[in-house]
């Protein structure tokens, strides 16, 4: 019995220290770089001049309208509004801002209860420490285009009625999916896709901060594979850094991580298409598929290639692109990769070799 108690005590000792140690670990647990390198102030937001101008005005004390941000992913919509609210509210950020995104439940029920409830409370124009702050709260609805129409409709009246105490910021990719009554209640801002040089600068800055070594052309590769989406570029950068910890990041790694098919494969595929031999084509596609490349990616890259190809007439290009669209659609609905790519390549072969 005594021994049991003793061992019990002994076991309790190290385990508590273990948990406390773990807490320390968790604090140190690396946060995604996307979060780490979000702009902290509105001034840091790159390239979106209109919005920045409006937000700066409101920081100086002018009133803020309801906002609607739209634009392609990774252009800084969420970052901008987060930075702005942080500057507006400072320490009381947590009490004044409600952020909902697509991963939260956002049916009509939530709009009626949570959003309305949050919007109804009034706030004072001073912070607890006596400094002035704007007399309103902020509700950020991220990825608003994935909200149901009913939920959007439920917002309409809430938005107007609570305009004294609450500002809304809707963020979406496609403004066409937001119902008209909502868009007319907001000031709309379009976020432009970021320019190449700004992306390069930002990535270069992160690499510098993290002390990463990389080959020439790597940053360009990141940007090329991410289609102007800064978030995706940073995510791939972090993955690459984890994989190659301590070594130079090579261009090849970037392509590998982002799942891009190596250019030689696409070129070889086009070459095989010009041979006018079905057997060669079929064999080649089999071997390409066993390499594990995704067919959607192959279609994407083929399209780039076809559009830039000089030896085809516009009509032929159109025919091929239409088939690419059809095949892509079929793939999404679960079609077999090999068959779809083969189908497309057959058409390309026909257009290349048998055009009158």
């Amino acid at each position: 019995m005594h021994a049991f108690l003793k061992t019990g005590k002994l076991a309790a000792g190290p385990s508590t220290s273990g948990t406390s140690k773990e807490k320390v670990d968790k604090k140190k647990a690396p946060i995604p770089w996307v979060e780490k390198y979000r702009p902290k102030t509105v001034d840091e937001v790159a390239y979106q001049d209109d919005v920045v101008a409006v937000l700066k005005k409101s920081l100086e004390g002018a009133d803020l309208p309801n906002l609607l941000f739209y634009g392609p992913p990774g252009t800084g919509k969420t970052s901008t509004i987060l930075a702005a609210t942080r500057q507006l509210f400072g320490d009381i950020f947590k009490q004044r801002v409600l952020e909902l995104n697509a991963s939260d439940e956002r049916g009509i029920q939530v709009v009626r209860e949570k959003v309305k409830g949050f919007a109804q409370t009034t706030v004072s124009a001073t912070r607890p420490d006596g400094k002035p702050c704007p007399p309103y709260k902020m509700i950020i609805l991220d990825e608003a285009d994935s909200m149901t129409r009913d939920a959007q409709a439920a917002l309409r009246r809430t938005m107007e009625k609570q305009s004294k105490t609450t500002r809304f910021c809707l963020i979406c990719n496609y403004v066409s999916r937001i119902i008209e009554p909502l868009t007319s209640r907001c000031a709309k801002f379009r976020f432009k896709p970021l320019a190449q040089d700004i992306l390069v600068k930002r990535l270069g800055y992160i690499c510098n901060e993290e002390g990463l070594q990389y080959e020439d052309g790597v940053l360009e590769a990141f940007i090329e594979t991410s289609d102007g989406d800064l978030r995706r570029a940073i995510t791939t950068l972090q993955s690459a850094a984890r994989l190659r910890s301590g070594e130079d990041i090579r261009q090849r790694d970037v392509y590998e991580i982002s799942g891009v098919v190596e250019d030689t494969w696409i070129e070889k595929l086009m070459e095989t298409c010009t041979t006018d031999s079905y057997e060669k084509l079929s064999d080649f596609i089999t071997s390409m598929m066993t390499e594990g490349y995704s067919a959607t990616q192959v279609l994407n890259q083929l399209q780039d290639k076809i559009v830039g190809l000089g030896s085809l007439t516009d009509l032929q290009k159109a025919t091929i692109c239409e088939r690419i669209a059809v095949c892509d659609h079929r793939l999404i609905e679960g079609g077999d990769e090999y068959l779809q790519v083969l189908d497309l390549s057959c058409l390309i072969m026909k257009e290349l070799c048998h055009s009158e």
Binding site: K26, R242, I257, G259, K350
Partner: protein, 355 residues
């Protein structure tokens, strides 16, 4: 006595036979401690599972190999009872959610939630997270994939997901962008031949290199299949001779016969005969996609250039419709019927040209 495939499966990252650079990367990943969600993809028999198990062993030590099979029960919101079999060790949990078909969303939500919301008991010298291995992610419904997306972010602290899929085409971009993608290409024919030699050496057998190459070529770069074929050959005839017959699965032969039957005669009567054969294949659980691909491969052998493309187009069209419909036989039959029409027209045109 276990099959060679299981017996000679490498258990450590250092013992893998190919894609060594990737193995090195994985090792580094484990060492640096910061472990992201993984999406491992590649064709069947390329060694995805082997790599995942090696990775787990590297993470947790040999304890992961003590597996137990568990039956878990779930209830859908509509009160339907589901049962799913999971494979678990103290550190990880492996499950194939598509086993329960349409209800995979429930499994994804419930199972991962229960697994992830419990902390590891013994944290000394262990990782503070568990691993959930989900196989056949590409067969998950869109609903389940969206549910996964939320769970992935929520339980990042206690749980890492390793997703295993044949292709990323059917995995939604939101999941792809949250994972570190690992492509596992199929081994080349030479590599397979080498591995076969290796396996035979360990078994104390001598394998002629020609036979090894032939098996490797016949396996369509599928290593598992190659090893199984090799073992079958050994049962069939040992000592090996280099021109030994490699047994092809009888359904493949059956499929070839079916295709030649279609080419032989194009009539409603023949279509009826072929239907029986297709039913036979389907009742033996040959996936309809495989039947499509097999038929196409055989049929184009009898056609000319232009017609080949046309047949391919038909196959792609009908195979896609197969996924929208519910009964495979309709679509396979539609493909065969339209092929018959096309082929007959092609023959007649050729005839009229000759005279």
């Amino acid at each position: 006595m276990s099959l060679w495939v299981d017996k000679h499966r490498p258990k450590e990252l250092g013992k893998l036979d190919y894609h060594l650079e990737q193995a090195g990367h994985l090792k580094k990943l484990v060492e640096c401690g910061d472990f992201p969600h993984l999406l491992v993809y590649g064709p069947p028999g390329a060694g995805k599972k082997t790599r995942i198990m090696c990775l787990l062993r590297e993470l947790y030590g040999p304890g992961v190999e003590r597996l137990r099979i568990e039956h878990q029960n779930f209830q859908t919101p509509s009160k339907k009872k589901l049962e799913i079999i999971t494979l678990a060790s103290n550190y990880h949990l492996e499950v194939n959610p598509s086993d329960v078909g349409f209800y995979d969303r429930v499994v994804v939500q419930e199972l991962i939630k229960t697994c992830a919301s419990t902390q590891q008991l013994d944290t000394t010298g262990q990782r503070h997270f568990k691993v959930v291995v989900l196989t056949e992610v590409d067969k998950l419904t869109k609903d389940a994939q969206h549910a996964l997306r939320r769970t992935m972010e929520k339980y990042m602290a206690t749980c890492r997901l390793v997703l295993c899929a044949n292709s990323t085409s059917k995995v939604i971009p939101a999941i792809r962008s949250r994972c570190l993608g690992l492509r596992v290409p199929a081994p080349t024919v030479e590599t397979i031949a080498q591995i076969l030699q290796c396996v035979c050496k360990k078994e104390g057998l001598s394998l002629p290199s020609e036979l090894a190459t032939r098996i490797a070529e016949k396996s369509n770069r599928n290593l598992r299949r190659a090893i199984l074929m090799c073992e079958a050959c050994k049962v069939h005839q040992y000592p090996f001779s280099s021109n030994q017959e490699i047994i092809t699965p009888d359904w493949e032969v059956f499929l070839q016969d079916t295709a030649s039957k279609v080419v032989e005669e194009q009539s409603p009567k023949r279509l009826l005969e072929v239907r029986e054969r297709i039913y036979e294949l389907l009742t033996h659980c040959i996936p309809p996609e495989v039947i499509f691909k097999g038929l196409l491969r055989e049929m184009v052998k009898f056609c000319d250039g232009e017609v080949k493309c046309e047949v391919t187009r038909l196959a792609a069209y009908h195979e896609h419709r197969l996924h929208l419909g519910s009964k495979a036989i309709y679509h396979i039959e539609a493909f065969i019927a339209s092929f018959m029409a096309l082929y007959k027209k092609f023959l007649e045109e050729n005839m009229s040209k000759m005279f």
